[in-house]
Amino acid sequence: MLPAIGYAVRKENRTILSDPALNAVEITFEHADVPLRMARFLGDDEFDYVSVHALKLSVGSPDRPGLRYLDALKRISLENQATAVSDHLGFTRDKEQGVEIGHFAPVPLSAAALDATSRNVEFVQNYLAPMPFYLETIAYLFQLEGTMSEAEFLTQLLKRTGCGWLLDVTNVYANARNFGFDAYAFIDQVLPAADRVQMHLAGGYFDEEEGLYFDTHSQPVPEDVWSLYHFALERGRGKIDAVFIERDAEFPDDSGWRSELHRMRRIAEEVTGKG
């Protein structure tokens, strides 16, 4: 099965969404939920696969996500005829009427976090059904004290909830490079637990001073990430539903956008044998 191939939609890449190599898009919920809008975010454009990517479900929080946010997320998803919905494995706030951190913090890798996250993921899945829900592995700068490895936590979470895995290949690459584990082994360990998979590819930079790779979505996809992508496609054969490139800064020109898109498709075709 050839995964659906596309971009996370930004105003800078709207013009290349008609490229025949692209049959999928990911839209960020917060970009599409504009109060004064009349038309849907995607306008008249049609795609085989549309995924709505949310930022504030905070599935690692002790409270379940708020219904107002979920309602709006569902409304935007239906409005844009979404195939799927996704968010991140982390927590972004303390409680329902509390404060936002600003970015996803990694959940502690503990049994209590696994319980709370599973409960929230199941709630979200039931709310959004029949649209499948995918959970993204985040890039982190720190981890809180826990009792299991990230791969163990994720494996158990996927098995327990049956939710999809949004494997952000660059995030796994960044975490592995920054904190010294084998990205290939990580993917190899987690993939069997996922029934369905989406992937993200992006490019960041290595900060020599800090000694860390930052996934800034501002650079071309690095060669190491392309290799990991190839590996994940092989290992996840048959269950990779869609792959998206994310770019949020230092945007390429038209040929830059198209070149990464075509490479993403070419590799998928090579691995799946479908051209």
């Binding site: 004064l36 009349m38 303390d94 404060v99 970015h103 502690p108 904190f179």
Partner: protein, 266 residues
């Protein structure tokens, strides 16, 4: 045997509740510490191999994104000559006030402008700039809350040209006010035409993706308030009930307001 099982079960339940409570306390504590940039509160809970430096990078990244968002989304304030202290205020705001749960970009900007109003002594010109921008956010929220009404009104507005041509002949047309609107008062001449003297009540309302602001004459303001209390109603009903204007004035105003996309007909 049964008793033993029951004791075990109670213990398990108690253990789970305890663990859930501890988790809640941990996440609440960590989220607040990260939101306020209190790295020291996070460090004792870090897994081995992670240190204060990592948390600081996380916090700095968040603050920097917040700063960029406010500066970018409020560029017209940042670049306004009446707001020379904008940058210093943004920094203080970010240090003092965390982002509310679920807040989006507009909500965050609104919160910042509200904070300026509460914490700074502002000139009338500064107040007017803030007032107009906050009114835009209010209109956006109204459109969001009354989405079906907002969309229906926008659709009806597209027929305004057709209906205004026949108002005289069809008083059974229903007239509707733009549901995404709010009033505010300007205190300076900053946004007023020559000859208008503050304070002046202005109306902010949604047109397309934009929010427009108009200064209306006293009579028009009174009639809009009257219509707001009556609608939904036909032109005939409004004319019959109005204590403010006659048929000619109401139809003339209806035509003007339709041209501004403040009313629509059905």
């Amino acid at each position: 045997m049964m008793k033993m099982k029951r004791v075990q079960s109670d213990h398990e339940v108690f253990g789970a509740a305890d663990s859930e409570r501890e988790y809640r306390l941990l996440i609440e504590g960590m989220a607040r510490a990260l939101a306020w940039g209190r790295t020291d509160d996070v460090v004792p809970h870090l897994a081995r191999t992670f240190g204060a430096k990592h948390v600081e990078l996380f916090v700095e990244g968040n603050l920097s994104k917040r700063l960029d968002l406010l500066t970018d989304m409020l560029s017209f304030v940042a670049e306004d000559e009446d707001f020379a202290e904008f940058e210093a205020w943004v920094h203080r705001f970010i240090e003092e006030v965390p982002v509310n749960a679920y807040e989006n970009g507009a909500g965050e900007c609104d919160a910042f402008l509200a904070w300026i109003e509460q914490t700074q002594r502002l000139s009338a010109r500064q107040r007017d700039t803030i007032d107009c921008q906050r009114a835009r956010y209010r209109v956006g929220r109204l459109a969001d809350q009354r989405r079906a009404e907002h969309v229906r009104f926008r659709e009806l507005c597209s027929l305004n040209g057709q209906f205004t041509a026949v108002l005289e002949d069809d008083l059974n047309l229903e007239i509707r006010l733009n549901p995404s609107r709010c009033w505010s008062e300007l205190l300076s001449t900053k946004y007023l035409d020559e000859g208008d003297a503050p304070p002046v009540e202005v109306l902010h309302y949604a047109v397309g993706f934009d929010v427009r602001t108009v200064v209306l004459e006293e009579n028009a303001r009174r009639l809009i308030d009257e219509l707001a209390g009556l609608q939904p109603c036909t032109l005939q009903q409004w004319i019959a009930i109005s204590r403010t204007a006659d048929r000619h004035s109401i139809l003339a105003l209806a035509r003007d307001l339709a041209g501004l996309h403040l009313v629509a007909f059905a």
